[in-house]
Amino acid sequence: MDDKYLKRERQRKLAGRIAVYAFLTLWALMVLFPFYWMVLTSIKSYSAYNSEYVPKFIAEAPTLQNYFDAFTAVPLARYFLNTLVFTVGTTALMLAVTVLAAFAFARLDFKGKNLVFTLFLALMMIPSELVIITNFQTVTNLGMRNTYQGLILPSVTSVFYIYLLKENFEQIPDELYKAAKVDGTSDFKYLTKVMIPICRPTIITVVILKVIECWNSYVWPRLITDDKAYFLVSNGIQEIRENGFGRENIPAMMAAVVVISVPLIVLFLIFRKKIMAGVSRGGTKG
């Protein structure tokens, strides 16, 4: 074991480290490039973009005209507002329903609890594609196409979140409940004053996941809305792609894409740790 051996070992380690960083950086560029490209394209003027047979990596005469177009030529602001209403409405309702159900399963005793819970769990395996057909018919027959109710109500339930929250509620020691009962606290007050504050991290997780899901949802809104006044951003983007801006105005399209992507990215950068922890606990995508 001489110096040569140690030196060679050190060199091998260094080479390995460089390779790892190179690989990681390569994929990071793969991830970032589309974002760079959409911002870049969105600040190129229409004529500049179309005159570049070989696309340029910088905008020589950056312009905000496309953003102006995105909000005026198509009702982007309206799409935004719709998405906001949809997201807030769905998430709030989901939270109320989920918390109440999880509380019943975790804290209260009643006949048939295990049976009902098993049935709930079984529902977790049902893919949304299977039930969406009937829901489409139902909402259509109820005349709720192109309404917020029609958008929101079928998107509310999530068995998985009930399950997640129930597990968390059950970790709260029984003693707390007994102590509260001795003090004469009602069940509902115990839920709101003790359980919800203690389980706040899980509740935040659930909310974050639902918000991401809502903001990106495409299929259900597409089925249930054909009036542009009720389009969400996803549908708006698709609409812009197929009929928007009159011509193939890609820079304006990209401006719209940037505007749509920004809220979630900002949210993510602020709550990065919470979101990543939440997703790793309860998220699935892909």
């Binding site: 790892v20 991830v31 509380f103 209260l108 009643f110 893919p127 009937t134 197929e242 979630l264």
Partner: protein, 312 residues
């Protein structure tokens, strides 16, 4: 109710319990209503739909009961194309994305500096709108009269011939779809695998190091078995997710996927339901049930394998 002393408890005691049971149902009521109306009933209904022949959306009448819907769907070239596309997508993206995520996670776990930055960047696709970013991919890959597009420019740089990935040959379109799908599903997999790797206790590695275990052997004999439950989890959810692929395809190729030859099974279901070719909920139901059967079978197979292989 018998107590330890063999006496029945006074009846009076049983009543509050009864009342509490009622209250519990009250707490459950909203969830049961929502689930019943938008999940259980549709589940039954979709089965019925799928066997109602000649259903007419407008008059809500049907001609008879039978398996015609299934046979129609199974003979529909669009459906067969969609099944083929979906299977290709699944077979390519699940192993590629899982493998790539594992490589990236291993890399991430071996570094200290900039680790958080990389993690943040890698997670970005998770929080972006699939439709919106899909549009960017389309532009990068598309070839128009005005420009060959970014990707073709790169291909040209390496001396290749330019291809239209969006309106061109089927293999090229499939490539873009797979590429974009991998791009979209990686964040979740990287996140799960990175935390799985981090949760392997350092003591195990120290023990192996003291015993002079080689790097590759540490990986195959310790790391891999320890994180195998998470890998199986990712493979199973990956299969399920990839079988349900749809919006990625829409993002790249537009809503008329049948014309592009890029439809997926889920896309077929929606097309049957709504849009220019829509109005056939029975066909849609049959196709959805076939999809469910496929996913279910594959998940069961996956679970059986994982139970045999993931040892603890």
């Amino acid at each position: 109710m018998k107590t330890a002393y063999g006496r029945s408890l006074p009846r009076r005691k049983a009543r509050p319990g009864h009342k509490r049971g009622l209250k519990a149902w009250l707490y459950l009521l909203p969830a049961i209503l929502f689930l019943g109306f938008f999940m259980v009933y549709p589940l039954v209904d979709v089965l019925i739909y799928s066997f109602e022949e000649g259903y007419n959306s407008a008059s809500q009448t049907f001609l008879g009961v039978g398996t015609y819907n299934y046979s129609y769907v199974l003979h529909d070239p669009y459906f067969l194309q969609a099944v083929k596309n979906t299977f290709v997508l699944v077979i390519i993206t699940v192993p590629v994305s899982t493998g790539l995520a594992l490589l990236i996670s291993l890399g991430l776990n071996s570094i200290k500096k900039l680790k958080e930055l990389y993690q943040t960047v890698y997670f970005l696709p998770y929080v972006t709108n699939t439709l919106a970013v899909g549009l960017v991919f389309m532009i990068l890959f598309k070839k128009t009269p005005y420009t060959d597009g970014m990707v073709n420019l790169l291909i040209g740089l390496f001396g290749g011939k330019s291809v239209d990935f969006i309106d061109g040959p089927h293999w090229a379109k499939m490539f873009v779809l797979c590429f974009y799908t991998v791009w979209v599903v990686l964040p979740f997999k990287i996140l799960i695998l990175t935390s799985a790797l981090a949760s392997v206790k350092q003591d195990y590695y120290n023990a192996a190091k003291v015993d002079g275990t080689g790097k590759w052997r540490i990986f195959t004999r310790i790391t891999l078995p320890m994180i195998s439950p998470m890998i199986f989890y990712l493979v199973i959810t990956g299969f399920i997710g990839a079988f349900k692929a749809y919006s990625d395809a829409v993002a790249l190729f537009g809503t008329n996927l049948n014309a592009a030859g890029m439809n997926t099974i889920v896309g077929y279901v929606y097309d049957m339901l709504y849009g220019d070719s829509g109005g056939f909920p029975s066909y849609a139901s049959a196709a959805a049930l076939i999809l469910f059967a496929i996913v279910f079978t594959i998940t069961v197979i996956n679970l059986a394998i994982s139970r045999r292989r993931a040892i603890y």
